[in-house]
């Protein structure tokens, strides 16, 4: 999935003042690339990631996926794109508390009209859980899991639909070194298998594992650190 951004601006309006989060971002990400956006807090990294994923709309500028302009696409088309082609990993480990690990992972396919049978969905979920060494925790509820395990569940969930683009916001967040390494290796392997990854992080060790690093400051791409 090739992604092109032209002059992306985002201005948040709060009562009597306007805050510019992004000021004219131009970016070109080729299929199979592994891109990291680094920068200080409030520099606009997460806003940019959310705009690419269609979670919020830019104030101005254009977004192209595979040469198709998506800027003014209606909300339900963005929903279809997210369902079919995008996977999200959030900094906040958002899991549905009253579903087990296995059920949480199966959720993305509930909203897919062309979904496979329940048995096929379950088989895929179990296969992915085994890949991430989580098969023994499949019947546990989220409150029994550690931070690292919860993050692995969100990664597995984001992979259920076999996305072409993975958007990760601080995937290692506040995890310990061992858990972080597991997640770093998982992301590297996914990219080796051809998945395009765009990640936001403060962690330079994690950023160095990617192929391209962009530094963002005050809503603008300041420099290319790698790639």
């Amino acid at each position: 999935m090739n992604i092109k951004l032209f002059g992306i601006e985002k201005i948040y309006k709060e009562k009597n003042r306007a805050i510019q989060a992004l000021g004219g971002i131009n970016l070109d990400i080729n299929e199979g690339n592994y891109v990291t956006l680094v920068g200080p807090s409030g520099s606009g990294k997460t806003t940019l990631l959310s705009i690419i994923g269609g979670l919020i709309k830019p104030t101005s500028g254009d977004i192209y996926f595979d040469s198709k302009k998506l800027t003014h696409l209606p909300d339900h088309h963005w929903s279809t794109l997210r369902k079919k082609h995008f996977g999200f990993i959030f900094q906040k480990k958002v899991i549905i508390p009253h579903l087990t690990v296995l059920e949480n992972i199966m959720v993305p396919l509930v909203f897919d009209e062309e979904r496979s049978s329940h048995i096929q969905i379950k088989a895929r979920a179990e296969e992915l859980l085994a890949d991430f060494e989580m098969e023994t925790r499949k019947n546990d509820y989220p409150d029994k899991l550690s931070g690292g395990e919860l993050q692995r569940v969100t990664i597995v969930r984001s992979l259920m639909t076999n996305p072409r683009l993975l958007l990760a916001d601080e995937p290692t967040g506040d995890l310990d070194k061992k858990s972080s390494e597991k997640i770093i290796n998982a992301l590297k392997n996914l990219n080796k298998n051809g998945m395009t990854i765009i990640m936001v992080t403060h962690n330079m060790d994690l950023a160095r594992t990617s192929r391209t690093i962009y530094s963002i400051k005050e809503g603008r791409i300041e420099k290319v650190l790698k790639g």
Binding site: L55, I56, H76, S79, L81, K83, F88, V94, I95, H118
Partner: protein, 195 residues
């Protein structure tokens, strides 16, 4: 959208979410119920006490069942709105996850409505059954209030009362749930997941 698998049932009818809610907010709900009951009693006593003895006697004789009906409906309004706020606000993150995974606004809207409507509807049916007994108990007062004879006219008034209350409770459910369901389904997942 909703199929027959157990997962879909869990997502659609979130008894587990209600169980979770009851477990975490048990004392809050108990306090709310006691508050509502005390509120109902105090309002009624306050109204009665503020009147002179003759009027108080008339009220007790003729209007007390109307006061009970109004109190019941007010309590129901508070109950359905509070239950909705507790369940939905607590689950904002969940709706954000579903939106980020590709659920449409309309799907979230239907999900919230389906889930939130079950308990208020059950309570509404219980209240309506209670009201039938109240109306039967106070049938003499209805008879004297509206100056109508027993027979067809009496049962017509009885029926009107009942259906008026059913319609009122439907409106309470509708207005306490519909605008909020619309609001939550239209929230950007970005804001839900970030903050």
């Amino acid at each position: 959208m909703i199929g027959k698998s157990s997962l879909n049932k869990k997502l659609n009818i979130t008894w587990l979410a209600y169980r979770d809610l009851a477990r975490n907010n048990f004392w809050f709900i108990m306090k709310l119920v006691l508050f509502l009951l005390w509120g109902m009693i105090l309002i009624n006593l306050g109204i009665l006490y503020s009147l002179d003895i003759k009027l108080r006697y008339d009220i007790l004789e003729k209007w007390v069942f109307l006061l009970i009906l109004i109190s019941l409906n007010l309590a129901f309004l508070l109950f359905s709105y509070t239950l909705f706020s507790l369940t939905t606000k607590k689950r904002q993150d969940e709706f954000g996850i579903l939106r980020s995974l590709g659920a449409r606004r309309s799907e979230i809207f239907h999900l919230i409505l389906q889930e939130s409507v079950i308990i208020p509807v059950i309570v509404s049916i219980l209240i309506l059954v209670l009201e039938i007994f109240l109306l039967l108990y106070y049938r003499l007062e209805i008879h004297s209030l509206f100056n109508i004879e027993y027979g067809f006219a009496f049962f017509l008034t009885f029926g009107k009362f009942f259906f008026l209350n059913a319609a009122l409770q439907f409106l309470i459910i509708f207005f306490s749930l519909f605008p909020s369901a619309l609001y939550f389904s239209r929230l950007d997942p970005y804001y839900i997941l970030r903050y």
